[in-house]
Symmetry: C2
Subunit: 371 residues, 2 copies
């Protein structure tokens, strides 16, 4: 699996005359492409060479020997835990001809870029959008069958937790945001997940107006009369789901009912457009227009890909620079939301596989009403 | 408090002829300096001007109106949620004279740097190490009295949890890594914390050889005969503690006892050097030498500052480029650790305030022995 993914990358490198691709995953600069290509969960450099070799330089050598499927493992500590020094040494060890093109991550900070250029002065250092990083994002956006099966498993665990939560909410056994967050942490692991895909966002009626409530969850009451939001994901073998429930408790005001109805209309409108060949920007703009006609607006994107990251390609948003088009194998969220300091917030988010003919919704998050 | 911090920054800007400093905090590119200068927890741009003005451009406008102490709030959505476009528009609104020096984050990716330079062509765009980012890191490394009091509170909550954990371990009530992680999540919030400062690392004897066990915690047994590691932090009003316990259960092998004794010797040796005027590299190298004489080595840094981030200045490590010197007001970790796939891993980590005369240990993490 990892070898097949690397083989695809080597082919791309040959076509684009790139001798070495450098991938980097460290604190503050995460890149799950390392896990995608090697199985190693992170804190490492990975070099892929046009000759079809993979060299992993991990912070934790023991963990790498246990988890990584690569040709060579060489501990990061040998290079003073400095990525620039490590790349220089590895480029020499690999025996890279002068003049070769070496592509470093497009996220490389400008001052670090200058250090790479200086230390690799006899090579052609590339740091660009539209290069290897874009190719990896494109590869990762279209899931292979193993990835789809893994995401389906994450989604099945998610749905079981959603059903359990609904029962507990209706019977009054959930009293606080903390009850929900701890239940999700416990149940996800009990079902074999690595954990949650991101910090659970549980926001009762007083806090739901925030897109991402801060702090993410507290000991505040949940649910409570009005609109509450619960946004969580389950990470199974590295792949995370991402769903949002809205909980509507007690009798809602007219404004709240209108807000919910508008959100659900946006959800349906968009879902009909989640199919191969449609530009994701087109869908996002359709929702923008729907909200705009109702004199509302949404302060975040309509959706995004999910996988080894909670947010990855394709982007599903209205910006001019968004060029993504839906393709079979993409697994994405659809998550219209509306927020108001007076009425509170609501968001409905499910995970959706784009198929040859349309889509298949993988999760069953919903608006839960409690009397 | 925020105004005083900003005033210090305006003074630095005047001395260094920087007209505008741009700070950026978004997913994958976190910078708590925004919270440090404004109180706003994140997902925003912050512009500081030499004329003494602060302009916040938040993703979540509602949250900012509730939390931010700044002169102007202008929503990010107005600029297509594109940092480069937002900065260009704000620079115009502020009325910045052509030729002014505008400093963008030193973490700015090279391709984004090129966009900034193009769009701000009539200005002098700075993106460098040793500039504003370094000054902010220096300011943040030396805690003011409010910050010290906040960290003391985080440490007090941490200690109470450590004591509770010790009792539960001794009485056999903790059975799995999950029991510990969920207890910490629950108790931290119950004590008024925002949450944990980072994902709790609970690694029973089978997994403790990893520096940072992967996954961070599971349903595996904890403790179990041998060496287990528990590494966690409590985040109180944004400031996080960071401690590590080693749990030694049952009779240890000679090799394990030797490993523990060496770690504790390193801890004591280093603690005596945690005082003003000592280069942090000197301390780290003293521990390297101690380990080296025992034919062991430590695969991570000896410590780091804590505050709004779990890892911030000062660095406490052996690298040549580490120029940090201990100063009063720094709050840092001391965390020697040794890892071995055969014997397992151990690490002891406490949080330490550097004082005028030496240091004060703020937490009471320890090796807990269970028969």
């Amino acid at each position: 699996m990892f070898q097949r993914r690397r083989a695809d990358m080597y082919t791309w490198m040959a076509r684009n005359s790139i001798t070495i691709v450098v991938l980097e995953d460290f604190e503050g600069k995460r890149d799950p492409a390392i896990r995608y290509f090697s199985g190693h969960p992170g804190d490492a450099l990975l070099l892929l060479t046009i000759t079809g070799h993979s060299v992993l330089c991990p912070w934790d050598e023991h963990l790498a020997r246990y988890m990584a499927d690569v040709d060579v493992i060489t501990p990061y500590s040998e290079y003073g835990r400095d990525p620039v020094r490590a790349v220089r040494s590895l480029v020499d060890k690999i025996g890279t001809p002068a003049g070769s093109r070496i592509e470093i991550p497009e996220t490389t900070a400008y001052p670090t870029f200058l250090r790479y250029v200086e230390i690799l002065s006899e090579f052609n250092v590339q740091c660009r959008t539209g290069g290897a990083g874009t190719e990896v994002a494109r590869m990762r956006a279209i899931k292979d069958p193993v990835e789809i099966a893994t995401l389906e498993k994450a989604c099945a665990i998610t749905d079981a937790i959603v059903n359990q939560i609904e029962k507990l909410l209706i019977t009054g056994k959930i009293k606080t945001e903390a009850d929900l967050a701890l239940l999700i942490e416990r149940e996800a692991r009990a079902a074999g997940a690595e954990g949650t895909g991101f910090e659970t966002l549980a926001a009762g009626p007083l806090r739901s107006y925030g897109i991402h409530a801060f702090p993410a969850w507290t000991n505040s009451p949940f649910p409570g009369k009005g609109l509450s939001i619960l946004d969580f994901g389950v990470k199974f073998e590295g792949y995370t789901s991402d769903v949002t429930l809205t909980v509507a408790a007690g009798e809602l005001t007219k404004a709240q009912e209108k807000q919910l109805a508008l959100m659900e209309k946006a959800y349906k409108t968009a879902l009909a457009l989640y199919k191969p060949g449609v530009a994701t920007r087109t869908v996002s703009r359709a929702v923008d227009e729907l909200f705009s006609r109702a004199k509302r607006s949404m302060p975040h994107a309509l959706g995004h890909g999910i996988g080894l990251e909670a947010h990855e390609g394709p982007a599903i948003r209205s910006r001019d620079d968004n060029k993504w088009v839906f393709e079979p194998g993409m697994v994405v969220t659809l998550e219209p939301g509306l927020y108001d300091p007076e009425t509170g917030g609501c968001r409905l988010e499910n995970d959706i596989l784009i198929t040859e003919t349309g889509n298949r919704v993988l999760t069953n998050a919903r608006v839960i009403r409690i009397s």
